[in-house]
């Protein structure tokens, strides 16, 4: 477990003014999306990065109002819908959070269900409990085609993983939804080249230049709500190969394994079959900032079973159209 947290005095001493500039840049990119494309959608998983992007979009397109207790802080409407690719393996807390959020803010939510893709035969699982993470691409590309989206806004950051360090802010996808490393356009100043042909689309990443620490600092500063599993709670887990595997219907213990209770939080929310929590007492975004400053394991390494298979696994998935 990480060092005990003494975060009360931490935030005021930490220079956060760079967040204003990161916010400025992200809002600029979001307005660029709305202005330059016909049919955008914001990828919203309820994960912390997409919660930050949603808040930035609200600031870009809506007007802040006095809090009325409804959980809604803005008037107006985003010029695009939210899109959630639901693997069917989401933690129930995450779905509940998502539904409550759109109820409060009045935004349009489109859910693309992987179960539909499975039913239609476009996704074939090797076995029923297989991780559905890699299959999200199929359901996502089906949703793009069905709704004729020409740009998807995502919460990916360049610091997450090595393959993302070269990702553009506006990333071009061909008519098969594929990312070609050599076809990416040089990005000069903020003169984004948003020209695409029919059938092609773009991904836009407004928080490309944020680090995990920046995200937590911003969540704390802006008081942005997150699904409860981001914060410390008691959970039944199985200790497996250095990871804490949460006990769920789709991740039962294997023969010889025992289930124990641990005080944990999740660092990412994703498919239940491949998302693991870390032991932590951090109960607020501020606590997590304190932890992030001393943390020794990068976000994807500690919590994603599927990324462990190969150093290059992200790059492969990206070429296949993963977000």
């Amino acid at each position: 477990m990480n060092a005990p947290i003494h975060s009360k005095n931490l935030l005021p001493t930490f220079d956060q003014r760079h967040l204003d500039h990161l916010e400025e840049e992200a809002i600029f990119i979001l307005r660029e999306v709305a202005a330059a494309f016909e049919r955008p959608a914001l990828l919203f998983s309820s994960g912390k990065d997409s919660c930050v992007v949603l808040r930035l979009a609200e600031k870009a397109f809506k007007t802040r109002i006095a809090a009325d207790g409804s959980g809604n802080e803005f008037k107006g409407r985003l010029p695009f819908p939210l899109l959630h690719v639901d693997t069917g393996h989401n933690f129930p807390e995450v779905i509940a959070f998502r539904d409550q959020l759109v109820q409060a803010n009045g935004e349009r939510l489109i859910v693309a269900h992987m179960d539909e893709s499975i039913k239609n035969g476009t996704v074939r699982l090797a076995h029923p409990l297989e991780s559905r993470n890699g299959h999200q691409t199929v359901t996502l590309l089906e949703a793009i085609e069905q709704h004729r989206f020409d740009v998807l806004i995502g919460g990916a950051r360049r610091d997450e993983e090595k393959a993302r360090a070269k990702e553009r802010i506006f990333s071009h996808r061909d008519s098969f939804g594929q990312w070609q490393p050599k076809e990416q356009r040089p990005e000069l100043w903020t003169l984004f080249n948003t020209r695409i042909r029919p059938g092609e689309h773009m991904r836009a990443f407004p928080i490309s230049n944020w680090t995990e620490l920046d995200v937590w600092l911003y969540l704390a500063r802006e008081n942005i709500p997150l699904p409860s599993l981001y914060y410390s709670h008691q959970r039944a887990v199985i200790r497996r190969k250095g990871l804490l595997v949460p006990l769920t219907a789709v991740t039962p213990p294997e023969a010889g394994e025992t289930v124990s209770t641990a005080t944990v939080r999740f660092r990412t929310v994703g498919d239940m079959t491949c998302t693991c929590p870390v032991e932590s007492l951090a109960a607020s975004a501020t606590d997590i900032v304190a932890e992030t400053l001393t943390v020794t394991v990068s976000e994807r390494g500690a919590t994603r079973m599927d990324d462990r298979t190969s150093e290059a696994s992200m790059e492969r998935r990206k070429k296949e159209g993963y977000f």
Binding site: F14, D15, R17, H18, D20, H21, L22, E23, E24, I27, F28, R31, E32, A34, A35, E58, K59, A60, F61, K62, T63, R64, K75, G76, R77, P79, R158, D159, K162, A163, A165, K166, P181, K182, Q184, R185, P186, E187, L188, W189, T190, L191, N193, R195, I196, R197, S208, N209, T211, L213, D214, V295, T296, V297, S298, G301, A302, E311, A312, E315
Partner: protein
């Protein structure tokens, strides 16, 4: 400490210091650039345990190779090359940094142009072990000249030389003094303002993030490379004087639908290129020339009193005007529109730039058709000598005259980055083919 750096260190209250400093790193394959970046990340604890695990596994008992930290794509690892600009992040207590890491050989100019656009500083690596420091006047390597000339040509505001591998020379003090002298002489001749020359050993970590050890104290008292980076100013466009704002997005005011769709008040959003704006100001829309009074200002979801260069402002006007994305909002009478200008063109596309051919240009938020009316010359990036040319190939830089289909309020890049920069897009492929830095409107 150079006079320039001295000035900077004593301006610590510069308002841009809380903005992330974006700098590019320029160096050739063996200059130790990857090790230097690895060192900055490692010493600032931007490297995490599982990444270190991977490195340790690969090192197989040998000392960790920090240069592997900046490895990017699988395809590159297989070929042992790097194909594009990668962005790295680290932060100190006082500042966030973004490194635009331009790989050193293939497609060098293309990558460096991309990394330089929007960078506040360039760190040019000089490998001292490749230089003969025993002679009176040290002969710099061609790549050092090329990298600094490119950074200068692309108007990167601060240029820092990091003289690397001082651990590997017998007499580091005199060697560093000799190289510094040569760098100053070269810079003076090329018209480059040197921000700092810093000795380092990226491999050992000397003077990168930590001050130099006792053995260096006699000939180099500091600052460390990181101290230099912490002190550099970020780019701030001018706040005084006339307003220039490219309209990015026109939004209908939320929640006031009652007035009817055609008559809703609209907010004109755009990031201010230079100057400032406040309620009550009279403004003019270009190209239409109509004028109006600003009745209200918004910024990031809130109402504000006034906005300055670099900020995205939302303007409400006292009358309904025909305004769309791509228009400019200016102080009335202040902007000059032109359909012809001279510029430096850095060509990035494997398809050469051809005079007479039509391209798309993006200036501010406007796309216009344009043609390269003339290629005045090509610049030799080793010497900056002008050579006659009829086309520009990939990785070449030249001086061109551009003619546009409609009039634009261009300004010299040296005076304003937003009004002075354009991208060139090939209408056949949609590829970003070139970068234009305006030198003079006609």
């Amino acid at each position: 400490m150079s006079a320039v750096l001295n000035k900077l260190v004593h301006q610590q209250d510069i308002d841009t210091h809380h903005r992330a400093l974006r700098f590019l790193t320029a160096g050739s394959v063996d200059d130790g650039k990857s090790t230097l970046i690895g060192r900055l990340l490692y010493d600032s604890r931007a490297i995490l345990a599982d990444q270190l695990d991977t490195l340790e596994k690969r090192a197989a008992g040998q000392p960790i190779d920090l240069s592997l930290l900046t490895d990017g794509l699988e395809a590159e690892r297989e070929q042992g090359i790097r194909i594009d600009v990668a962005y790295r992040y680290f932060a100190t207590k006082s500042r966030k940094f973004i490194i635009a890491d331009a790989p050193g050989h293939e497609q060098y100019t293309r990558n460096m142009v991309t990394a330089a656009a929007g960078s506040d500083a360039a760190v040019v690596l000089v490998d001292i072990t490749k230089l003969d420091c025993s002679v009176g006047a040290v002969q710099l390597l061609p790549q050092t000249r090329r990298h600094s000339l490119l950074a200068h040509l692309l108007r990167v505001p601060s240029i820092v030389f990091a003289v690397n591998k001082l651990d590997a020379v017998a007499e580091p003090g005199p060697a560093f003094a000799a190289v510094s002298k040569a760098l100053h002489a070269f810079a003076a001749q090329a018209g480059i303002e040197v921000t700092a020359i810093v000795p380092v050993s990226a491999l050992r970590g000397d003077n990168v993030t930590q001050p130099p050890g006792d053995d260096w104290a006699a000939w180099y008292p500091g600052p460390s490379l990181l101290q230099v980076l912490e002190s550099l100013p970020g780019v701030q466009e001018r706040v005084e004087g006339q307003l220039l704002l490219p309209v990015q997005y026109v939004a209908r005011e939320p929640g006031e639908q009652s007035e009817g769709a055609g008559n809703q008040p609209r907010t004109l959003w755009g990031r201010i290129a230079h100057g400032q704006v406040q309620a009550g100001d009279e403004i003019q829309i270009l190209p239409s020339g109509q004028t109006a009074i600003v009745t209200g200002l918004r910024r990031a979801g809130a109402t504000v009193e006034h906005c300055v260069a670099g900020e995205s402002a939302g303007l409400l006007l006292d009358r309904q005007l025909d305004v769309s994305r791509g228009d400019w909002i200016v102080t009335p009478g202040s902007a000059r529109l032109t359909q012809s200008f001279d510029a430096t063109l850095a060509w990035l596309d494997t398809e050469p730039a051809v005079a007479g051919r039509k391209y798309w240009l993006r200036h501010g938020n406007r796309w216009v058709q344009a043609r390269i009316a003339a290629i005045e010359h090509r610049m030799d990036i080793h010497s900056l000598q002008a050579q006659a040319a009829i086309q520009l190939n990939v990785n070449e830089i030249g001086r061109v005259r551009i003619e546009t289909q409609s009039a634009l309020p261009v300004e010299p890049y040296a005076e304003n980055r937003i009004a002075g920069s354009l991208i060139v897009v090939d209408p056949a492929t949609n590829r970003t083919s070139g970068a234009l830095l305006v030198s003079q409107g006609h």
